[in-house]
Amino acid sequence: MSTNNNQAERVIGTLQERAKELSCLFRIEEILQDSNQELSHLFESLIQVIPLGWQHTEICQVKIVFQGDEFKSSNYKPTEWILTANLIVNDELVGSLEVSYTEERPMEDEGPFLKEERKLINTLGERIGQFINYQQLRQIYKEVESRKAESHTDSKIVVDLLYHTDPKLYMRIARRLLNYLYKNGVSESQKILQKFIPASYSKIADSDTGDNIPLSHQGEPDIMDLSQEIYNIAYSYTNDQKLLNHLQRWIQEDRANLVIKTLNDPRATLDDIADQLRRFKQIAEKENLELSEPIQRTIIVQLIRALMSSRMGFIHRSKNYLSLEDFHNLFAAIISPTASRGRLGGKGSGMFVASKLLEKQVKTNKELGQIRTPKTYYVTTDGVYNFICYNDLEHVFEQKYKDIEQIRMEYPQLVDIFKNSKFPPDIVDKVSAALDDLADTPLIVRSSSLLEDQLGTAFSGKYRSVFLGNQGTKQERLHALLDAIAEVYASTFAPDPIEYRKERDLLDFNEEMGVMISEVVGERVGDYFLPSFAGVIFSNNEFRWSPRIKREDGLVRLTPGLGTRAVDRLADDYPILVSPGQPDLRVNVTQDEVVRYSPNKLDVINLKTNTFETIDLVDFIKNHGHEFSATDQLISLLRDDRLQQMSLLDLDFEGAHPVATFDKLLNNNKFIPQVRAILATLNDGFGIPVDIEFAVKNDEFYLLQCRPQSYGKARRPAPIPKDVPEEDIIFSANRYITNGHAADIAYIVYVDPERYSQIESKDTLLEVGKVVSKLNTILPKRQFILMGPGRWGSRGDVKLGVSITYSDINNTAMLIEVARKKGNYIPDLSFGTHFFQDLVESEIHYLPLYPDNQDVKFNKRFLNTPRSILHKLLPEYEYLDHVIKVIDVADESRGRVLQVYMNSELDEAIAVLAPPATKVDDSGVQKDFQLKSVSDEHWRWRHRMVEGLARSLDPDKFGVKGLYVFGSTNNGNAGPGSDIDLLVHYDGTGEHEKDLMQWLDGWSGCLDEINYSKTGYRSGGLLDIHLITDDDIRKKRWDASKIGAITDPATELPLTREEAAKEDSE
């Protein structure tokens, strides 16, 4: 009972104190209302009232000190129980407020004072400071008014105002004014400058060389005075209006300093920066402020560094295309943990900068058309760390140092753990707000990690992207969205990216994962949601289906529906490939090819089931073609064996088969020029080749992603060896060849296509992929090649290609895909996919084989050796011995190795058993190796050269009567390896002959070298000389019979004789 009473008393006591404090505050406010009263009068009143707010009013006394003057309670006596607050006006200490007790009282929070009393005194101090400030300003205003009346100049008024209101700014502006005056040659200004830093200044003025010693700097002069002096000089030298303009600009620009200061502060969080920027923008808008170029640059560069990347290359590339406005908008779309210092991540930054660059160029470049970006929110990169810590998951950080097999094993669990973890409430709130803005349009959640912006490491498709139907209640949608973010976070620790990082020495980097939440570009068609079409664009075409296509002609992969089918490797589908530089040179030419190798499925979001789905194109077009806005752009109809663009009269599909040819789109003279313009703009803007993902909806082009294109080194064509004994050839190929030489291969891993196709169980098929993955870690790096059926690492039926990912094959020197029988396999599909980009980046050679074609070799016996060593390497997989052959090349070939030569100029490749390569120049890698166009036909240049040879041959010196060319060079069917048949009609001495042969030998060698650089063929000498005499011609001996023959006659080459030359000159 008594405790209860005590408690009640205490509560009542506390409340009474609060009431006292409040009534004190009210009374003080009342006093402060009267703004006309003298300060001294005010202080007197305050001293009366303030004690009322304190617990022990009866012994409370007050002292106010203002600019040296003291105002005290009557009977004031110094004591030791004091509470003090400063009076601050304009950031300057102008005095103090002091409350004290004259007698000792029981100890409370701060001495005898309550903590509420501390708060109260601080509040009072602040309020009094504000009042003083207000009074002062009023005073200044009055003065200004009065001076106006005295016809002072405008600039003077401004300076006065400055002087009174913001002395620091007053001084800063004075410094700028001084520099300005000095620059304009006002001599007095120089004197003042010297006063600031006399010694060093004169030194600089004398000689500009400057020793490498710091400039000395003497004690600060009274800057206030100096400033006054500077302004005075300015009044006398500068036109008032001009000075006023400058002052105004400088004052405005000075505001930006705060932003810069925040940006430079390493402790500043994203929220701080956003605040500063917002405040600055408000001021700027209100005052119509325009910043000078260098200040803008400074701020933008700092913002890029804070939000995107501190890599010099990136900053350099981006800074010209971004404005403060862009950043202002960007901040509105950022979702970051409290006190975040994270960034957008590579993908986010890349897309943002590229879209701004394009936006800026759109005005001047009509072909670019309208370029849009989907509405996007960015979760900053430190979100993942925040998430991990919030859920006590720190152990995942060690994941990357584990064995790759272990990582692979543990990964599914890790995903589960992440998906079952909670997000910190502030992130949930922010994501929820973003979701309100995005509403219920389908979303894609994509990774945007710090490492993703590195040049040369594109991380193509390494991290997760998740499509969300985003249908249902807000709660369901939010849950799904957070789930997707967790999934993307988990992929930071997936085996594939970790292996990829390990290979590039990026493992120790503290990878952070940003997330982009974007609207999916698309329209609703039936229950489906999809864009008209989507795809990827590359600056460099790493796969040329025709020798006429150049690397810089670029590559576009197009697919109807979502672009996932363009970036993934597909087992049984065919995106449309176009080279924007040569859009008319298509992969598929005949109608049968066009029909057979056209896209037959599309990826969509099913809004009804809220899932990502792959649907059949023909069904879709037949059922929804009339609602789908792009039908006529993409679809041609196959009717009566004839493929034609759809016409407006094709209202139904009765008796016609829809085929996605993209014919109308590619011929509309709009899309391809637009792609070209985009590539050119981004290439020029960034100075590097790029890789873009995009989607198009109703003719609107949406940029989805932009990053530097991963690249391999340019490879030179390898010379194709000739006259190799049949039994030493393991395989040859003549379609879709890229350049290169896979040297000194010691092991071949061969998955027998027939036996693979006979495997019934899906698990066993997957086992094959696992064995390949294991072999990848056992066999020596880059000394083995993988050969097997179908498209490896593709999405879809595992029967159509061994199921692997990049990390399962990253050590191979070469990937060879074997297409057996006629049918559905066409290799180029993989070109441009993430998978292929990985191969290019890692410089893994790629080659498709068509062993059933008549004109190629395929040494089945060698590959199906009974001496496969798989059971020795992986005894547990012995049961797959008949499917997977691991061939020790040296064992099988008496100590030799396999050399694979590839020459795209000739469209030829061959793998031969040979001794290890010793020649250095076959290493196959040469930078900037530019191939001459092959349209320079083989016979044409040969013919030109022998004409030149004939012109420079001195017939008298060598005893030559006539020179003829015959054979392939003459009749125009010379191939890359053809020699040049020359018939020399000769009637000289033995001495002549020796000289002649020596002379021709020189030519022969040179021509061979030219041919080598053009084709990779080397024969030791290109000329085949046939010497004939008068007698031979008379008797029509074989060689001589070519002269004047009816079929394939030799052509005489005009020789330059001295007489002829003379005649010519006359």
Binding site: S546, D584, V589, V595, K799, L800, N824, G972
Partner: protein, 428 residues
Amino acid sequence: MSTTAFNAFEMAQAQFDKAAEILNFDSGTRELLRNPLREYHFSIPVHMDDGSVQVFRGFRVQYNDARGPCKGGIRFHPAETIDTVRALAMWMTWKTAVVDIPLGGSKGGVICDPHNLSQRELEQIARGWIRQVAKNVGPITDVPAPDVMTSPQIMLWMLDEYETITGAKYPGVITGKPVGMGGSLGRTEATGYGLIYTVREALKELGIRSDETTASVQGFGNVAQYAIQLYNQLGGTVISVSYWDQKDNTTYVVRKNDGINVKELLGITDRFGGVDGNKAKDLGYEILPGEAWISQEVDILLPCALENQVTGENVEQIHSGVKLIGEGANGPTTPEADQVIQKRSIYMVPDFLANAGGVTCSYFEQVQNSMNYYWPKDEVLGKLDIKMTAAFLAVNELAKKRKLYMRDAAFVIAVNRVAQACKDRGWV
């Protein structure tokens, strides 16, 4: 320059020599028919898209026109050789002769790879080709048609160029045109129907009622689909069809012992003739391995897919009940298999004759062009029936009289008709 490679022309000549031996031709006739009457070799300069000029080699071989204007396709191929063109021109000569249509044989080509050419450049080659031979081709001299890598579009460019040069409309200068641009109705059906017309006559010859027969078909493409359709109309029952499975990269057979329903199957077939196996199972079909088509217990085998399908290895699997083979495909039977078939006295309707429906329809196209009047589809197919039946009867007659294998009889009759025309004209 090497002579070791396979030479199609030498092979065609050897085949001819065999027939000439049987027919006991004199040396003049042999010499004349062993070689083309005329060859045109020319250059086609083309301004490429990049501004350079490339020169392409073009050919036209008019092998023999004793029986009428030459007829033959144009091939665009990077590995084209004059000998291939000669051989194909020779075969065209025999082919028009065997169905007894008043045409000779020719072939043409350009050495080029359309995969390395833009549409504009292709058009230039097509127009350039016709410019070079405009004086030497035409509806009453030599009629080109599409062939390897030459589309109906290329034909239309050529037609347009020809008509521009001559200043008149000559739709009959080229065949294989789309319907509405001078093409003939019934072309899609022609080869499949032609096959069954000959099979029907062969059954009559064997004294079998067609509505009491069963058949197994290899392939489910254009030829097979129409062949099955017409065969069903005659009352025949197809119990099995093989098809190519895109996904599994192999062939399968669908079988239903009381007869497949072609309409039903077409409903679950993709545009390449691939049947959806799962759906077929649902419809009550059995799915067997691809080789099974040959071993079915049927009366008739119709290989309508690729060449070299009936080989020395699998010919023994042909069921003892099989009485007739109709070759819808080109060269489905290898010589070793032929010997076995001949020994077992299975009646053979050889490809040469059995799939001549296509060329006959091209002839009809040209006939309609010169009248500038177009027949309805039924009329085209009716006339096709008459032609094919007559051709079959003549070959069958000869085979019986001279005790020849049908394949040899068809060839001999064709060669003889050409030789006779040369004689009648007093050439030899």
